[in-house]
């Protein structure tokens, strides 16, 4: 069962990215894509997924059935119901969804082939530099549906939120064991902010999904070093992270730094061959992102006042203020009665630390990646031209959500028990 769920998550995630890129490129080069074109792309992708599925079989571990699966599925249905009730009460999504993501989707859908003329002109405070994975997907949904509807961004939010839960549960279930998988999924389901933000129709949870997918595929590639296809697919997923939000570009830099530090075993002192394969996957999507950035979009608002940037970076009070906020934000993270970090600590106690024979740099790439990402976010705040308290209070909890599923995956990998450990 874990294998099926895992494959559905991988191919659904990559498929959504492919659909978004197709819509964008068609709209850019030709004009408004007709629904027939999108259906052809979807069918062609489904055919490709069947072929790619075969190459996955070699690297995927066998999964055991578990009696807890039904209980976990029932809990997912209940949380899904709560998520839908959030949508029914708040169908336009959060403020950024209206002012940025769905605004761009409406522009793509309503303008037809003329969207570039409007896009390149100044939409006042419209954040046109934000990548278009989510707006293109929403516009694709409207094209396929034949009309604008608030249901499409709602459905996409729901799909991405529960894809993250399913991907985390199934990947940990496959790599570490079913109980570990359900426990990791349970911690994620028990993070109220994750579900609430997931239904807010913004791009943070989709970004979290692509970050997790990349890391899971990289971890899976360790099982079968000769199978390079998984690494390429991880690269494609990292590319889609860049196409989802600007933070995806930071993720890409941190990912390559982490992969270069990763030696798969003692024979491979650095991860250059892996980085090369990863690059092959990233390149096509990155080309789209960079074309969008350099040809179509205005510069990012965070980097417009670069002359003051050095001054802000030299201001020690900003470091203290941000550190204090990071601490408070991490303590208050989750919006529940019990911090999900406590549940994560329980997870380590429950399943024990993995007894690794290698103990080399290969074990450290995931925490290195997460640390680099947090450090990157920290430095972006230091250089931010906006009011610091406003910037922190409106974004920090969402930034944590980008990394939270991957953090749980790392915890699960660090606590693999010996019987199912990948290393052995």
């Amino acid at each position: 069962m874990f294998r099926v769920v895992f494959l559905v998550c991988v191919f659904a995630g990559i498929g959504l990215g492919v659909l978004s890129c197709t819509f964008f490129l068609w709209a850019w080069w030709i004009g408004a894509p007709p629904s027939l074109v999108l259906w052809v792309v979807i069918l062609a992708y489904l055919g490709l997924a069947v072929v790619l599925n075969r190459s996955f079989k070699a690297v995927m571990p066998q999964s055991n059935g578990s009696r807890y699966g039904i209980l976990f599925s029932l809990l997912c249905v209940y949380v899904g119901w709560l998520a839908l009730s959030q949508y029914w009460a708040h169908w336009h999504g959060d403020w950024d969804a209206l002012a940025i993501w769905n605004l761009h989707a409406r522009l793509l859908y309503r303008s037809g082939g003329q969207w570039l003329q409007t896009f390149s002109r100044h939409i006042y405070d419209g954040h046109q530099d934000y990548p278009l994975l989510l707006p293109s997907l929403v516009a694709s949904g409207w094209t396929l549906h034949g009309a604008e509807s608030t249901a499409i961004p709602g459905i996409l939010s729901f799909v991405f939120t529960f894809l993250v839960v399913a991907l985390l549960t199934s990947s940990v279930g496959l790599l570490s064991g079913p109980v570990q998988g359900f426990a990791a999924g349970l911690i994620l389901l028990g993070t109220p902010t994750f579900i609430l933000q997931g239904m807010n129709q913004m791009a943070d949870i989709p970004l979290g999904f692509f970050i997790l997918l990349t890391v899971v595929l990289l971890r899976l590639s360790e099982r079968s070093p000769q199978n390079k296809g998984v690494l390429v697919l991880a690269g494609v997923s990292a590319g889609f992270a860049c196409w989802t939000k600007n933070e995806g570009l930071l993720f890409l830099v941190c990912l390559f730094a982490s992969v270069l530090c990763r030696g798969r075993d003692r024979k491979q002192s650095c991860g250059l061959p892996d980085a090369r394969m990863l690059g092959c996957g990233v390149l096509p999507v990155l080309a789209i992102v960079l074309s969008f950035k350099f040809i179509l979009s205005p510069p990012n608002d965070l980097f417009t006042g670069t002359h003051d940037l050095v001054g802000r970076w030299m201001d020690s009070s900003r470091y203290a203020e941000i550190s204090a906020y990071f601490y408070q934000g991490i303590v208050a993270f989750g919006a529940g009665r019990i911090s999900p970090f406590i549940a994560a600590a329980d997870y380590i106690i429950c399943f024990g630390r993995r007894r690794s024979k290698s103990g080399n740099a290969a074990e450290l790439w995931m925490p290195l990646l997460l640390t680099l990402m947090l450090a990157g976010y920290f430095m972006i705040y230091v250089g931010s031209p906006h009011d610091l308290q406003w910037h922190l209070s409106t974004s920090f909890s969402r930034l944590l959500l980008h990394l939270w599923p991957t953090f749980l995956f790392w915890i699960a990998c660090a606590t693999e028990n010996n019987s199912t450990s990948l290393a052995e």
Binding site: Y124, I338, A343
Partner: protein, 152 residues
């Protein structure tokens, strides 16, 4: 079938203390998650649909306005506050962004130097003040107006 991935007392710890600690930790994970999911039930209830209904009402009126305007055009915007103060006032800025959201691909610029201007007023007093400067082309109700700059 393996019930728990944690080792049995005899394998891991002869006293079984580690085993008990691990069992407690598993119970703690389940309790924390269920407690937070219970909390989520109340957090979703606190979201009021009233705001979105008001939003829908405002967007519907602007949708009527959109049908009057040719696409890929620019229009101005006037509200209770002068243009320079709109972005500093969260409520007014929100209304401006909603107007842009509703009218896109028509570009709404927060100034009054365009031929056609969208007026969005919260009360009749502010609307009447604006009438001195602009001619009303269409009144869509509840303070939403399509205006034309009056020439001297």
């Amino acid at each position: 079938m393996r019930v728990l991935p944690i080792s049995s007392p005899s394998q891991d710890n002869p006293l079984g203390l580690l085993y008990i600690a691990r069992c407690f930790a598993l119970v703690a994970i389940i309790a924390a998650a269920l407690s937070n999911i219970y909390e989520l039930k109340f957090l979703t209830k606190t979201v009021s649909a009233t705001t979105d209904r008001e939003l829908d009402d405002y967007l519907k009126r602007l949708d009527q306005l959109r049908k009057l305007l040719p696409p890929a055009q620019r229009v101005g915007y006037v509200s209770d506050l002068p243009a320079a103060e709109i972005s500093a006032n969260p409520e007014q800025f929100r209304k401006y962004c909603l107007t842009q959201y509703a009218l896109i691909p028509v570009l709404v610029r927060p100034w009054t130097d365009e031929n056609l201007i969208v007026g969005s007023f919260s009360g009749p007093a502010a609307a009447e003040r604006a009438m001195k400067e602009f001619t009303v082309i269409r009144d869509l109700g509840r303070g939403v107006l399509l205006l034309h700059k009056r020439t001297e």
